[in-house]
Homo-oligomer: 196 residues x 2
Amino acid sequence: MTSDRGQLFVLSAPSGAGKDALLYHVLRACPDLKKCVTVTTRQQRQGEVDGVDYRFVTPQQFEDLRSADALLEWAEVFGNFYGTPRQWVLDQLAEGNTVILKIDVQGGQAVKSLYPESVLVFVAPPSVEEQERRLRERQTESEQDLSLRLSEAAREMAAMPEYDYVVVNDDLAHASDLVRCIVRAEGCRVRPPRKG
Amino acid sequence: MTSDRGQLFVLSAPSGAGKDALLYHVLRACPDLKKCVTVTTRQQRQGEVDGVDYRFVTPQQFEDLRSADALLEWAEVFGNFYGTPRQWVLDQLAEGNTVILKIDVQGGQAVKSLYPESVLVFVAPPSVEEQERRLRERQTESEQDLSLRLSEAAREMAAMPEYDYVVVNDDLAHASDLVRCIVRAEGCRVRPPRKG
């Protein structure tokens, strides 16, 4: 569906790979990229702006969106729900814009099965140790949450081969340059003629 | 064959698309890229350095290389022969280096059929008018040569869909950034597991 229109990119990462900071840098380097604001039921963290970082909703509001088929994909992660507003994405693509979704690993695979032409980018932590250090630094989770996230992260790493690209987030400037390169390169790709 | 080793890039363009100047800029931006020196029987142009821009050989020397199977691909273009030294490319890839070949459109397709994992980049002129202007500016060809090159260029443009990427050479800085991005992005690509 994206053949003659905008391109759809998905940025996914296990917890602690540093995808939020990375995306921030990528958006500065690619001002034409449109970032989708995820709908979530999770608690707003300090510094987060509603409607910019996430759209914070109640579980009931989320359920309403879901039953109205208003979410392109959704997932439950550690008891919280996250979803991608379908109409916003479709509108952006129809306008020929390049869209980037920041979603979890299961969501990435869901988008790929819906839109095979979407481009999936997996952000990998430089090492397991660094990943744990970053999660501890965040200080927003209890020790139990942390342990859950770490085991989930290990499981998520296994999804890497399903992705189109892997960027190791060793250094923010380097990693964001690579994501920018992926976006620019995909813009030059010769696409096979549309079928049907 | 390139799975666990270096990557092979091919830069092709019809005459007058400006691929020489573009490659010069790309090599400055990607100092790790290894440029293959093409063997040719064509006359050395002013400013060209033997062994750097091309390796200039006699028709007999070329024929010897060809019959010794020392050329990865070769082609005759306007009565001159051009070939890619096979061993040099294999050695570079075995060392894990990223190699770029500047070859004509038919040569690009030959490399792709030999090495399906190679990445083909087609450099397109911004317009037919600009292409003709560049060819005239070069002042190294007679009017008859020019006319031949222009009709050949039109034929070569038809090969574009066989390439992986197309970069329009409208502005050198912009186009060379895009080629650099393609090289960097391909370095992040998740490759399917090797067969056999």
